[in-house]
Amino acid sequence: MNKIKAFSTRNRKEILRDPLSYIFCLAFPLVMLIIMTVVNSSIPKQAGMTVFRIDNLSAGIAVFGQTFVMLFTALTVTKDRSGSFLVRMYATPMKSTDFTIGYILPMIIISFFQSVIIYIASFIISIITDVDLNIGGMILSIITLIPSAIMFICFGLLFGTLFNEKSAPGLCSIIISLSSFLGCIFFDADATGGAMLKICKALPFYYCTKSARSCVKLDFSSSTFIVPFIIVIACAVILGILSSTVFKSKMKADLS
């Protein structure tokens, strides 16, 4: 346990002391939150488009922010692998599970506080724009965003383990773009329907946004929250197992 704690603390400090992590994980999502609120104010009410209204937007931006946590997870792992740092650590009594939990744990904490900040900003915007935003719903949403955070972090761990410093961020960019669009953060697939909705539903990102959004509105019905939330938990578990297994086998290969 002390090994996991030590490695987690090291990873947390490494990321929190990198100014870029604040720009990508915090500043950029907050800027998007403001920009999309401005866009929302420019959309005529008759259009009936509510995807950028703060009660819908806040959860979407929280998920959007998590995709950058994925990017920084991948960057941390690839950086450790490209230098001799992991080689040194492999020669210590640390096991592969110590490494994987040590990478995932601080990212969950970072992601948690990121969601808190995004929801605080959203609440301020809701007061300014006179939109009703439920505090209890936001608190519950922050908690239900944890499986989604784990899923994205495990994506980062997987890419960081399998690819190098150049290709891993590229792959993360693809996931960021896919989740932004097909995760219905900046696009209302439910209103569009058809093939587009089918594609969105085939990917896990849609369910992350859907469950978080429903939670903010205290809508816990089966189709809008329970089923999407179970899908997100299942994806988080699958990716958690997959990324840990891949890290373990890569570590074994590095030591062969």
């Binding site: 002390n2 090994k3 704690k5 030590a6 490695f7 603390t9 090291r10 400090k13 490494e14 002391r17 990198d18 230098g83 001799s84 740092f85 080689v87 040194r88 650590m89 492999y90 020669a91 210590t92 009594p93 640390m94 030591l255 062969s256």
Partner: protein
């Protein structure tokens, strides 16, 4: 008990044999250098002895424990300072040491004591609150070795510890390494003759994955019939390479 013992230790990568049937014995408390040109198999040997690479064949023992079957036990008693300075860039010197100590110890008081001790021994106090990424090459190497020593290992592996350092930083690091002599077994790889001569109790000359000669500087001079380690090394290396051809 020997600190290191290898029996026909071999490492092959597809068609290349990096280490070829290495037979080596290092006494407890000895500072033993593996001297050779680039690609001689020095780092591969250290990787196998520190359980970072699995031998293709042969046996290796560290303090009587098998590198194949008792890896976890070996990892508790060794320290390694890799060729590249493996430090956490955004952590301060003190935090880097604290991190490594926390991997081995649970008691916070013990961890603090170990960190204080190593800062004092390696004169790191003037940079203890500086982030590792802002340190000069010499300080980084010092920190890297200090991190390897925090667990008080019985066997310390130093892979080219002074590579790329200026002459003053190298001399300072030599003093630090010299201060450890006798307290633990140290296996050092280098291709600097003066470094091997200055620091080592015994030197093994590695050429193409094989040990061509092993002994004190005087032994190597006698074996080669040349004066000075550099001349002895060149003579032994040339002879070894012609034998391989």
């Amino acid at each position: 008990m020997n600190a290191i013992e290898t029996k026909d230790l071999t490492k092959k990568y597809k068609t290349k044999t990096a280490v070829d049937a290495l037979n080596l014995t290092v006494n407890e408390g000895e500072l033993f250098s593996l001297l050779g040109v680039n690609g001689a198999g020095k780092t591969t040997t250290i990787r196998m002895l520190s359980c970072l690479s699995t031998p293709t064949s042969g046996e290796a023992y560290v303090n009587g424990k098998s590198c194949k079957d008792e890896k976890d036990e070996i990892k508790k008693i060794i320290g390694i300072s890799p060729q590249d300075t493996a430090v956490a860039d955004n952590l301060t010197v003190r935090e880097n040491l604290d991190f490594m100590a926390s991997v081995y110890y649970t008691d916070k008081a013990v961890i603090n004591e170990k960190v204080e001790d190593i800062i004092r021994i390696f004169n790191l106090s003037e940079v203890e609150n500086q982030k590792a990424k802002t340190l000069s090459g010499g300080w980084k190497r010092k920190l890297s070795i200090a991190m390897a020593l925090i667990s008080e290992p019985k066997v310390l592996f130093l892979d080219e510890p002074t590579l790329g350092l200026d002459v003053l930083a190298r001399r300072e690091l030599w003093h630090a390494i010299e201060s450890l002599k006798g307290k633990m077994t140290i296996i050092l790889t280098t291709h600097y003759m003066e470094e091997a001569e200055h620091l080592s109790d015994r030197i093994a000359i590695m050429i193409s994955g094989k040990i061509k000669a092993c002994g004190t500087v005087a032994d190597l001079e006698e074996l080669s019939g040349k004066k000075g380690l550099e001349e002895a090394f060149v003579a032994i290396a040339e002879r070894g390479m012609s034998e391989d051809e």
